[in-house]
Assembly symmetry: C2
C-alpha cells in the first residue's frame, strides 16, 4: 500500500516564503562537497539555529583567530526548516536592529564558510559540536490565571544529545550553551554519550562541557556574545582546557576574561541563578508597583531615589510583564532540577514564586483597563504600542503583550498593534503595523504603551497623532511617557501610568 | 495611704553602672539653665537616644554650618534612662569601632552643647524636633519556628508624637527619621498634631516631614550619616523647604545631593522599600545556598562569576542570618501599612516571605551542626566566633546568633562566645569573651564562625589555636575561611561551610 503524503511547508518568519520540507533526509553529498572545499579547517557544527545558534554560527564562521568552517544544523520541520534554507540563501534568519549582523553575515557568505543542513551526518564531520537547541518548559495555569504546575520538556533535549552521540567523532569536543537544568552535563548528557559509545564499541575520548552565553537580542546582539564575560566548566580538566581554547578564538577574552568553575553543575547553576535573580527582582517590584498606586505615590521617583545608593543601583522598574526565552522559565528549570536531579525535598520557593507573580503581571494591566471602562470593553477600539518582549528588539517570544492581547480579544475589543521592529507576530500569526500614520487612520478608545522602544520616546508625530484623537483612555505600562507628554495628554484624555498613583 | 516604691535602676550597657530612675519627672530648672547658656542658638531636641538619635545629637551639636544647641530626650525607664546619664557624664552611649565618634563627642562636651533629659518640657523649648524613637514589630512563630503572625507596635510611637504635640512650639519643625509605616506622617502624625493644637486652642503653623537616614553602625558610623544620600519630603512645601535647610547644615549635601520626593508617603515607602529589597535578596540567596550544598558545588565561586556582570554585582552571599534593627522588621511594617493604612486587600507577599525565610536561616546552621553529631549535642563544648548582627560592629540587636545560641542551649551544649567588639550581650545578659587566648584555654568539640568580623580573617593566632585542638567539627556560616585555612583545618578536623557543597 502506498501512502500519499501532502507536502509540508516551513514558512520563513523573515519573508513569509514557504519552503517544502524534503522527504529524504540525506544531505551527505552537499556536506561532503562543503567540507572538501574547506579542507584543513576545523569543522564546527552548531546544533540549533535559533537566537543563539544563528549568531554563534556567524561568529565562529567569521573569526580570524582560528580556521573554522561551520555547519549549522536544525530539524526539518515546520518551525525550523526555513532557517536552514534562509542561511543557505544568504539571509540571516533573525530580524535584528543590530546592523553589524548584516555586515558580519555578508562576510560569512563571501567566504562561503557556513552551510546549513538537517542531516545528522554533519555530526560525523565535526571537530567541535556546539549545542544551542531549545529546552522548554510547559506551564499550566488554573482558572485564576495562576501558575499551577509546570513540566520541564527534557525529552527533545535528550533526543538532540542522542543524535550527536550516535554520530559524533570519538574525540569530538561538545560544548553545551543551552540553558539546562543543573546537573544535566554530568547526570544526563555524559551517560547518553557513554552508552552510545559503548554500543558503537568505541572507547570514547570526547570532551564535554558547559559554557553559557549572555546574549541580548537587539542593537547589541553580536556584541553581547563577543564582548561579554563567559562562565564555563568541563566534565574533566581536558574538557575545560579545550573549551577555553575554543572560546579564546571567538570571544574578546582579553577584555572579558573567562571564568572557569569547578564543575559543569556549578556553571549550569550560575546560568539559572543569574536569571532567577533578575526574575525575583522583577517580581519584588511588581508588588510595590501595586502598593505605590494604592498609596497614590510615584514609584518611579522613589526608585530613582533608591538607585542613588550603589548597593541598590540595579533595582527594577514597573512594567507590563516579563518575556523572552529565559526569565519566564529558568527559575522553574532550576526548581525542577533541585527536586528531580538532586532529589531535594525542598523547592526554590522564592524563584518559583517570582515566575508566578511575573506571569500574572499583564493581568494587572488588563484589569486596570477593564476597571476604567466599568468592565465593558466590548467593541472598544484599542491600539497597542509595541509587541516585542522588551524594548528595541523584534523578538516576541513569550512577550507579556500576549496575555494582555488575549484578554482584550476575549473582552470583545477591536485591536490594532503597532511595533517599529516586528512585522509579523509569529505566536499569534498576526501582521503588525510598522507605520504610526497608518495606525492612526483609525479612531481609538484606548491606547496602551506596552514596550519601551526608544522609538516612542519624545516622538513628535506620535504626540500629535494622540492629541488629534478624542476621549482616549491612555495606559502607560512601562513608564514611557515623559512629564511634558503626560501634562499634554492629561488635558485632553484620561491617563493612567502603572506604578504612578500620583497621576 | 502611702505606697512604698522600690527604687528602679537603669543599667549602662557601656559600663554596667546602675542609675536610679528619678521619681519626680521635672528637669525644668536644668533645662532652663542649659538654654540660657546657649541664648541665640536654635534649639534642636532629638527624641530617642538610640543608634540614630545619639549620633544625630552629636552631629547637630557639632556642626559649624549653623548655631544649634541640642537637647537629647529619652524615657526615664530601665532600658533608656542610663543613656541620659551617660551623655550628661560625657560618655557616648553606643560602643562603636568608629574612632571619630569619640573625637566628635569630646568636642561636643568641650562646647557643652548637648544636654540629655527625660522631661517633655524640653519640647516646649525646641525650634526643631527630630524624631528618632523606635517603632518595633512583635513577631509570633509557630512550633516549626516559622513566622506565623506579627504586630506593628504603633502605640508607643503614637505616644511619643502625642507628647511632642502637647508640648511643642506652635511653629516647630518636626522631622521624623524613625522608620515608620508608609502613610504615617499624613494619616497618623498630622492628625495627632492637629487635634492637640485644636485642644490647646492654637492655630498651628508647625512644619512636618520625613527624612530618613541610612546609618550603618561600625567603623563608618558617623560618616554614614554625614556622607550619604538623603531622601526627604514634607507634608507641604514650606515643611519640605525647612527640612532641606536643616539637612544642608548637618549633611555633606554638596557631594551627596538631597532627593526631595513629592509626598511624605513616598519618602516613607522609599525607606521600607530599600530595606525590603535587601531582605528579599538575602532570602533569595538562602534557597540557592541550600541548593548548592545539595548539588555539591561552591556557591561562592558561582556568585563571584555572576558578580562580574555590572547588572548583578550586588547579589548577596550566604550567611548565618539577618539581624539588626531594620531588615527583620521593615518589610512587615510595609506590609502592615498596605493593609491597615491603605486598606489594600493584597499583601506584600514577596517581602513578607523574605522575612519568614531570613528568620529561619540560623535554624539551617543549627540543623547542620546537629546532623553532624547525629542529633546528640548534649554536653558538647562549642565556641561561637562572633555575636553581633553583622561584621565589624558591636551591635547585637536581633543578631541571628541569638536563635542559634538558643537552639544550642536547648540541646544541652556548653557554649563559649567570643567577639572582638561585644563585651556584654544585652539581649541574653551574657558576658562575652574578647580574648581568643582566654577562650582557647578550653577544649572544644565544635567551633562556629558566626560573624564576618575582619578580625578573624587570616588571624594567625586563631589559626594556630584551632590547629592545636583535637577532633573538632568546624562550621563556617559566613564564608570566613580562606582556601589555605580550609586546607589546613581539613587535615585535622571535620569542616563544613554553608553554601559550599564541594567541601
Amino acid at each position: 500500500m502506498k501512502t500519499i503524503v501532502d507536502t509540508i511547508y516551513s514558512g520563513s518568519l523573515l519573508t513569509g516564503e514557504k519552503f517544502p520540507i524534503p522527504d529524504s533526509v540525506s544531505d551527505k553529498d552537499n556536506l561532503d562537497k562543503f567540507v572538501a572545499k574547506h579542507e584543513g579547517k576545523k569543522i564546527v557544527v552548531v546544533q540549533g539555529l535559533g537566537f543563539v545558534g544563528s549568531i554563534m554560527s556567524l561568529i565562529v564562521a567569521n573569526t580570524e583567530k582560528e580556521n573554522y568552517t561551520v555547519i549549522g544544523i536544525d530539524l526539518p520541520n515546520e518551525d525550523s526548516y526555513w532557517k536552514i534554507c534562509s542561511i543557505n540563501k544568504g539571509e540571516f534568519p533573525i530580524v535584528s536592529a543590530d546592523e553589524s549582523i548584516q555586515t558580519g553575515f555578508k562576510s560569512v557568505n563571501e567566504k562561503g564558510n557556513l552551510y546549513a543542513t538537517y542531516d545528522p551526518y554533519a555530526y560525523s564531520l565535526a571537530d567541535i559540536v556546539i549545542v544551542d537547541v531549545s529546552l522548554d518548559v510547559a506551564k499550566e495555569y488554573d482558572e485564576k490565571n495562576e501558575l499551577s504546575d509546570y513540566e520541564v520538556l527534557i525529552g527533545p533535549f535528550k533526543d538532540a544529545i542522542t543524535t550527536i552521540s550516535i554520530n559524533c567523532k570519538v574525540d569530538a569536543l561538545i560544548i553545551v550553551e543551552t540553558t539546562i537544568p543543573p546537573g544535566t552535563c554530568e547526570k544526563i548528557i555524559k551517560p547518553i554519550l557513554d552508552e552510545a559509545f559503548q554500543r558503537r564499541g568505541i572507547k570514547p575520548s570526547y570532551k564535554l562541557g558547559y559554557a553559557y552565553e549572555r546574549v541580548t537580542p537587539g542593537e547589541n546582539y553580536l556584541n553581547s556574545v563577543i564582548n561579554q564575560y563567559r562562565v564555563y566548566a568541563g566534565v574533566d580538566e581536558a574538557s575545560a582546557k579545550a573549551i577555553e581554547t575554543f572560546l579564546e578564538t571567538i570571544i574578546n577574552t582579553e577584555d572579558y576574561p573567562l571564568t572557569l568553575l569547578h564543575s559543569t553543575t556549578a556553571a549550569e547553576i550560575a546560568k539559572v541563578l543569574e536569571n532567577s535573580y533578575r526574575a525575583a527582582n522583577i517580581a519584588f517590584i511588581q508588588e510595590w508597583t501595586e502598593y505605590a498606586e494604592e498609596a497614590k505615590v510615584n514609584l518611579y521617583e522613589i526608585l530613582d531615589a533608591i538607585r542613588m545608593r550603589p548597593t541598590h543601583d540595579n533595582i527594577m522598574q514597573p512594567g507590563l510583564g516579563v518575556g523572552g526565552y529565559c526569565l519566564p522559565k529558568d527559575p522553574l528549570i532550576a526548581d525542577w532540577a533541585r527536586k528531580d536531579i538532586f532529589q531535594s525535598n525542598e523547592e526554590l520557593s522564592v524563584s518559583r514564586r517570582a515566575v508566578e507573580i511575573n506571569d500574572k503581571m499583564s493581568n494587572y494591566a488588563f484589569d486596570l483597563i477593564n476597571r476604567h471602562h466599568l468592565g465593558d470593553l466590548s467593541g472598544k477600539y484599542i491600539l497597542l504600542l509595541g509587541v516585542s518582549y522588551i524594548g528595541n528588539v523584534a523578538d516576541t517570544r513569550n512577550t507579556p503583550v500576549e496575555a494582555l492581547y488575549d484578554s482584550l480579544v476575549d473582552s470583545g475589543c477591536k485591536i490594532t498593534i503597532h511595533d517599529p521592529y516586528v512585522t509579523f507576530w509569529n505566536e499569534r500569526e498576526l501582521d503588525i503595523e510598522n507605520s504610526l500614520e497608518a495606525c492612526f487612520e483609525n479612531k481609538f478608545d484606548i491606547i496602551v504603551f506596552c514596550v519601551k522602544h526608544s522609538f516612542y520616546v519624545d516622538h513628535r508625530l506620535l504626540n500629535s497623532l494622540v492629541l488629534a484623537q478624542k476621549d482616549l483612555y491612555i495606559l502607560d505600562t512601562i513608564g514611557m511617557m515623559q512629564e511634558e507628554m503626560i501634562d499634554q495628554f492629561k488635558k485632553k484624555h484620561r491617563v493612567s501610568i502603572i506604578g504612578r498613583g500620583d497621576i
